[in-house]
């Protein structure tokens, strides 16, 4: 019963940690707008966490530049299990307009397993919320598989 409770709770309380891996700030602003009164993702339990140690979902924006890659990977590794990685915007998935640049190391999926991709440049808040809700479901499943 207790395990069930935890599993249910995991789906209802996903905390986000946002990593900017060389983004143009477009997606960052959209992510913040998700938490504003208009869209209010907090009603689903979403909350921005300050430290990766507190987070469940890592949201990566930007094309993952060479400078940022080791930092992104370290921050992701510091998130306790179960965790979910969400890429936001087209940049971390394909490189978008930055593709082929000398300084871009992406896409992110070359280095870590990415659970959810939210495409768009920048994605609409509705799409972001949808992606995050999906991530929360995945998180719940991952929790169920633990032990």
């Amino acid at each position: 019963m207790f395990k069930k409770l935890i599993e249910e709770s995991t789906g209802k309380s996903p905390w986000l940690f946002h990593i900017n891996a060389g983004s143009c700030n477009g997606c960052d602003i959209e992510l913040v707008s998700v938490l504003t009164p208009r869209y209010d993702a907090e009603r689903l339990g979403f909350k921005l966490a300050g430290s990766p140690r507190h987070a469940d979902i890592v949201v990566v924006t930007g094309p993952v530049t060479k400078q940022s890659l080791p930092r992104v990977l370290r921050a992701i590794s510091q998130v306790p299990e179960p965790r979910c990685i969400v890429t936001m915007g087209s940049c971390p998935q394909s490189g978008n307009v930055f593709r082929g640049s000398y300084s871009v190391a992406g896409p992110l999926s070359k280095y870590v397993h990415v659970d959810v991709d939210v495409a768009g440049c920048a994605p609409k808040p509705e799409a972001v919320i949808d992606g995050l809700a999906l991530a929360a479901q995945i998180l719940k499943e991952k929790r169920g598989q633990m032990k």
Binding site: L5, I6, E7, E8, S9, T10, K12, S13, P37, D40, E42, R43, L44, G45, L48, A49, G50, S51, R53, H54, D56, Q78, P80, E81, P82, R143, M146
Partner: protein
């Protein structure tokens, strides 16, 4: 036989009624009500009232990472000590006429016991070795210093007022303060106590580390300060401690200033006290949260040592001259 029953009764106090279970449920509910209210004030839908429970259980299910640089024993023990100390304080605060453990601590002791949870979080943060924790603990300590002066003034004013009325000149005992109010009506009805009550209302968000006095845990600038390295269940215990601290301080307010409203029937009293706590949370924490922006640490200090202290001092001087 009577010893066994007595021991069981006290164990029940510690574990169930004013103790753990009550603290856990009531504190988390208060926290949820606070979040919901803030959301409503900001025209949001807001999280469900049970959200703090979800957060807590989720954190219990997460992996706990102890950084290699951390001092392991202190790091893991600090949240538990902080929570236990808070629950023990809750045992001393009377629920109108009812006190679980009377004759063990007075208001000066409560003042010092309130330092232990803060000290636990400070030492836990220090033990993690993170520089964010260093900045956080420095700010937390300054916040404690800031709140201490007005809180002292408020408590001394209450001690003097009740003592004067009872003819002893001084009264430090919380249960006597409660009894006095049961007989003579709430202290808030006295003119001299009104500034003190307002001051205590302003102290509550500072003591609990709520917005706008949360410079110590500013998640956007210093990664939640002392909690930066905590993850999983210990973090959950800290979040729980925060919720219980809200309950403790609001019920301290009820005990000090609204003590005369009790009915004498324990379950009703408990319900009434919880409602009053929720009202005070709404006024002192949620409303203040919704209408203000975070203060810098030196502004917090200045604010508490000037405005709030002045309010409390007015009350103390009025109480001194018996108004």
């Amino acid at each position: 036989m009577t010893i066994v029953i007595g021991a069981l009764q006290y164990l029940g106090y510690v574990l169930i009624f004013p103790g753990f279970l009550f603290c856990f449920l009531a504190g988390m509910l208060l926290c949820g009500i606070d979040r919901k209210l803030v959301a409503k004030m900001q025209k949001r839908v807001g999280p469900p009232v049970l959200q703090p429970f979800y957060d807590f259980f989720k954190l219990c299910g997460k992996e706990t990472i102890v950084p290699a640089a951390a001092e392991r024993i202190t790091f893991m023990l600090a949240p538990l000590v902080g929570l236990a100390a808070l629950v023990v304080i809750q045992l001393f605060i009377p629920v109108f006429g009812f006190t679980a453990f009377s004759g063990m601590a007075d208001i000066i002791v409560i003042l010092y016991l309130l330092l232990i949870p803060a000290l636990a979080i400070i030492l836990g943060g220090a033990a993690s070795g993170s520089p964010y924790a260093g900045v956080g603990l420095s700010r937390e300590m300054v916040t404690i210093i800031s709140c201490e002066l007005p809180l002292v003034l408020v408590l001394l004013a209450v001690a003097k007022t009740v003592g004067d009325e009872m003819g002893t000149g001084l009264c430090f005992s919380l249960s006597s303060i409660a009894q006095y109010q049961m007989l003579n009506g709430s202290l808030i009805t006295k003119i001299s106590m009104v500034p003190a009550a307002v001051a205590l209302l302003l102290i509550i968000p500072g003591e609990t580390g709520n917005h706008p006095f949360d410079a110590a845990e500013a998640e956007t600038e210093i990664c939640e300060g002392m909690l930066a390295e905590y993850s999983g269940a210990p973090l959950g215990v800290f979040k729980l401690s925060h919720a219980v601290k809200m309950l403790t301080l609001t019920s301290l307010f009820v005990a000090l200033f609204l003590g005369g409203l009790g009915t004498g029937i324990l379950p009703l009293d408990v319900l009434l006290m919880f409602l009053l706590c929720a009202v005070i949370t709404a006024v002192a924490i949620s409303f203040v949260h919704a209408v203000t922006a975070r203060l810098r640490i030196e502004q917090i200090f200045k604010y508490y040592w000037t405005v709030v202290s002045a309010l409390a001092l007015i009350s103390l001087v009025l109480a001194w001259y018996g108004l």
